[in-house]
């Protein structure tokens, strides 16, 4: 079937839209190279002073470090909890398990502003406000559903007969999970870990509510910079973040190419 004129037109339009999605973010690059002290487009002259400032500023570097700590811990915890949940629900596979699955996905679906209220409400009496533990716990609850989804997708392609075979050959529950199930859902686990990391690394709404001084993550500092709207160091930080996004994407692309079966479209 020959594509119609309309379809060709639509294809061009779609490319324009895709450009519209990606290109605006790139304006951070010229802005970060401005030689001036305030946010502006450089005119003829370029300077790397804002990158120098970013990488020598104790505040920004500590925010990078804090975000890394929070996001790595979140990713680790969410991967463990999410994988356990996915395998458990897959094992049970009844109508109850689907209800429980829907319940466990709620933190991902409920608007973050409401989640932020809930954590804020509980963290005050528990004394978890403005602490690493509080932030990591909150992020873990938000990120685990991601892992649950990706691992469940992997499990959908897993042949239950392999599990039966392993049990028939005398392997215990634990050995079956570790030696048979986990290796075959590895791509889902890794993708889930990556998604959980990104979610936490980029999370701002809940962070705004439950952290204040002692935990000051990168999105928090960017948020402040954006609100003040003067210091070009924000632009330099944005460029670094774009670069990190591209690196993460390449890692993800390699991962998903390795296992073409788990084609998550996220």
């Amino acid at each position: 079937m020959k594509p119609s004129l309309l379809a060709l037109f639509n294809r061009a339009g779609a490319w324009v839209l895709l450009m519209f999605l990606v290109l605006p973010a790139l304006i951070a690059i010229p802005v970060s190279l401005t030689p001036k002290r305030f946010l502006s487009m450089p005119k003829g002259e370029y300077s790397l002073r804002h990158f120098e400032k970013l990488f020598t500023s104790e505040e920004w570097m500590s925010s990078f470090g804090q975000s890394a700590v929070v996001a790595l811990s979140t990713s680790l915890l969410a991967t463990i909890f999410g994988t356990l949940c996915a395998i458990g629900l897959w094992r049970v596979s009844s109508k109850y398990s689907e209800v429980v699955r829907a319940f466990l996905l709620l933190p991902l679906i409920i608007p973050q502003i409401i989640s932020a209220m809930a954590f804020y409400r509980l963290w005050i009496p528990m004394g978890l406000l403005d602490s690493y533990l509080g932030l990591i716990l909150a992020h873990t609850i938000l990120a685990t559903p991601m892992v649950l989804i990706t691992v469940s997708a992997s499990l959908a392609n897993f042949d239950p007969k392999l599990e039966q075979a392993s049990r028939n050959l005398g392997a215990s529950n634990w050995v079956t999970v570790r030696r048979v199930i986990l290796p075959s859902v590895r791509p889902g686990v890794l993708a889930g870990a990556l998604f959980a990391f990104i979610l936490s690394w980029d999370e701002i709404v809940v962070t705004l509510f439950i952290s204040k001084y002692s935990v000051y993550t990168l999105p928090r500092r960017m948020w402040n910079g954006i609100r003040e709207n003067t210091d070009p160091t924000v632009a330099a930080a944005a460029v670094v973040l774009i670069a990190l996004t591209i690196i993460a994407f390449v890692v993800y692309a390699i991962l998903s190419r390795r296992n073409a079966k788990v084609k998550t479209s996220l």
Binding site: A7, L84, G88, I109, A118, W223, L241, I242
Partner: protein, 282 residues
């Protein structure tokens, strides 16, 4: 105890840790907030009656719903176009398109908001370019108004609109379209009478997903609205962090939550939810 263990599938033990965590640390305070909406500052429905009494609240609700509806409309139409082109592209082009989509999906919301701030300001790139071309003589106000909020929100939501549509379109049987053409229908007839109705589940899922996400959206409206466009999420944060009024904030949260749950329920009638949120067709 042994009898109990026989009845409970061992799989539940793996689910238990996170289940308890969500129940205690998430559902608990959430229910507490719902309760607060009825009991703070004093028991009764006075928080809810403020919706009718207070002009400010009514205006905020109306702004939020209006912006969400417009955002959803634009995102789904534009997303449909992208998804359609992606499904019908050759494999190589398709993977390029997917790369663009995913990269934009993954770029930090703060980076994107910052970029729009640089682009849309009075001395932003868009205004300056338009002035250089000579299209405008005075800078256009793209920011601190609804236009700016809409640009930022549609930009953020398009990838979310595309994903459910893509999943839906990929499962369509292309032979139906060929049959329609072979039977003499024109390309546009085939599209409007066959293709569009067949993608309705995708459209519904995508529209509801975007609407749900827009309802609670905080970052972009707060920055690009510049305090001039007050939406529910920002109002809640002001109530909690500045004026410390839990009652009104809890009431707004309860309404938002109810709206989201109703929409999820409708959505589950059209599509398996995990398909939408995970993007994986399991």
């Amino acid at each position: 105890m042994l009898a109990l263990r026989k009845h409970i599938s061992p799989g539940w033990w793996l689910v238990a840790p996170f289940f308890l965590m969500v129940a205690c640390l998430y559902l608990g305070p959430l229910l507490n907030i719902l309760w607060l909406s009825l009991s703070d500052p004093e028991p009764g429905l006075q928080n809810y009656s403020k919706l009718v009494e207070s002009d400010t609240l009514a205006r905020i609700m109306w702004t939020t719903i209006r912006i969400c509806v417009i955002t959803t409309g634009f995102s789904v139409i534009l997303g449909y176009s992208v998804a359609y082109a992606m499904v019908h592209a050759y494999r190589r082009e398709q993977s390029f398109m997917l790369t663009f989509l995913l990269v934009s999906f993954w770029i930090s919301i703060l980076v994107r908001t910052f970029s729009w701030l640089m682009l849309l300001g009075r001395k932003g790139l868009v205004n300056e370019s338009l002035e250089v071309i000579g299209l405008i003589s005075e800078p256009v106000a793209f920011m601190r108004n609804e236009l700016g909020v809409l640009i930022g929100m549609v930009h953020y939501m398009i990838p979310y609109a595309v994903l459910p549509l893509l999943v839906n379109m990929q499962t369509l049987d292309q032979r139906v379209m060929s049959a329609s053409r072979n039977l003499g229908a024109s390309a546009s007839q085939t599209f409007f009478r066959i293709y569009l109705p067949m993608t309705r589940p995708g459209i519904v899922a995508s529209a509801l997903l975007v609407f749900i996400l827009s309802l609670g959206f905080y970052v972009t409206p707060a920055v690009l609205g510049g305090g001039k466009v007050l939406m529910v999420a920002e109002y809640i944060s002001v109530q909690l962090l500045v004026t410390l009024k839990w009652g009104v904030a809890a009431m707004l949260a309860a309404l938002m939550l109810a709206g989201v749950l109703v929409m999820l329920w409708i959505m589950s009638k059209f599509m398996k939810l995990s398909t939408v949120f995970g993007g994986a067709s399991s």
